[in-house]
Symmetry: C2
Subunit: 133 residues, 2 copies
DNA sequence: TTATTAATGCAACTGTGTTGCAAATGTAAA
DNA sequence: TTTACATTTGCAACACAGTTGCATTAATAA
């Protein structure tokens, strides 16, 4: 008997999956993988953290992007699924407190002569609400 | 006798400086550090390449940014100096041929409630003029 | 030509992320 | 409950981009 198994995303509810989802419940913004690995280092191996994040992204539960210095950040998706990630938006990093989060604003990319824009990564930096005195 | 020396940027015209500037004369777009190190590996050490690029950026001759995968790219500045880098613009990476270059378009960042935007990194991806059939 | 010090090469290192594989664990079926 | 087995994990080793310290070389001003 032949079975077609599509292995991707989260299949089993493990302790590491719960722990990582819990972090995103506590923290409403984006979380860097570096800090997540550090935070969970006593309970899970860094490889596990990287792999669980991968799977959560495949499932459309989290999405990722690179911060200013090239390290990876994850944030919760809203309204994405394993089949479609339509969660494209700018991210904002506070230069004072370092907090990073998703923006709901829509940045209009002007059409560029002789080029077809298919994707965009926008990272804004400045002062967040808490740090604006 | 005391002398105040401000060591930054290019002070001496060396072979590596000339070789790297030559690469940017040949190639009008952006060049990744990885490919530059590779290209020049028979003549210069990678550390030298990194350091010369640093200095050229300090001088306002080149500017740098990160590509989609987090590796560093450099491109020529136009109208910058050691004192002011006012060369902020989006960059475009072709998904077909991999070519990366600077865009002259002005992307308007909408004002964001309760936040002060002080900097922006915008990377667009799609098809370049050559790859648009 | 000489003295000075910027620039270079090299080797070793750092930080982020990945891979292969054996062992452990979650889950569905018996 | 027990069993069977694919998924998930931990570990160690690795890959890769970029950095650092230091002795040596070379550009330049005197
Ligand atoms: Mn986001
Ligand atoms: Mn540019
Ligand atoms: Zn802040
Ligand atoms: Zn192209």
């Amino acid at each position: 008997m032949l079975r077609y198994i599509c292995t991707m995303g989260i299949v089993r509810r493990t302790k590491s999956v719960d722990a990582i989802l819990e972090e995103f419940k506590i923290n409403s913004g984006a979380i860097s993988v570096v800090s997540l690995v550090d935070q969970l280092s006593s309970r899970f191996n860094k490889t596990t953290v990287y792999r669980v994040l991968d799977r959560l992204e495949e499932d459309g539960i989290l999405h990722s992007f690179l911060g200013k210095t090239g390290i990876k950040w994850y944030a919760k998706c809203s309204g994405c699924s394993a089949s479609e990630h339509h969660d494209v938006h700018p991210h904002f990093q506070c230069l004072s407190c370092g907090k990073v989060d998703c923006l709901t604003v829509n940045v209009r990319i002007p059409s560029i002569p002789n080029r077809k824009v298919e994707a965009s990564q926008i990272l804004l930096q400045g002062q967040c609400e808490a740090c604006l005195v």
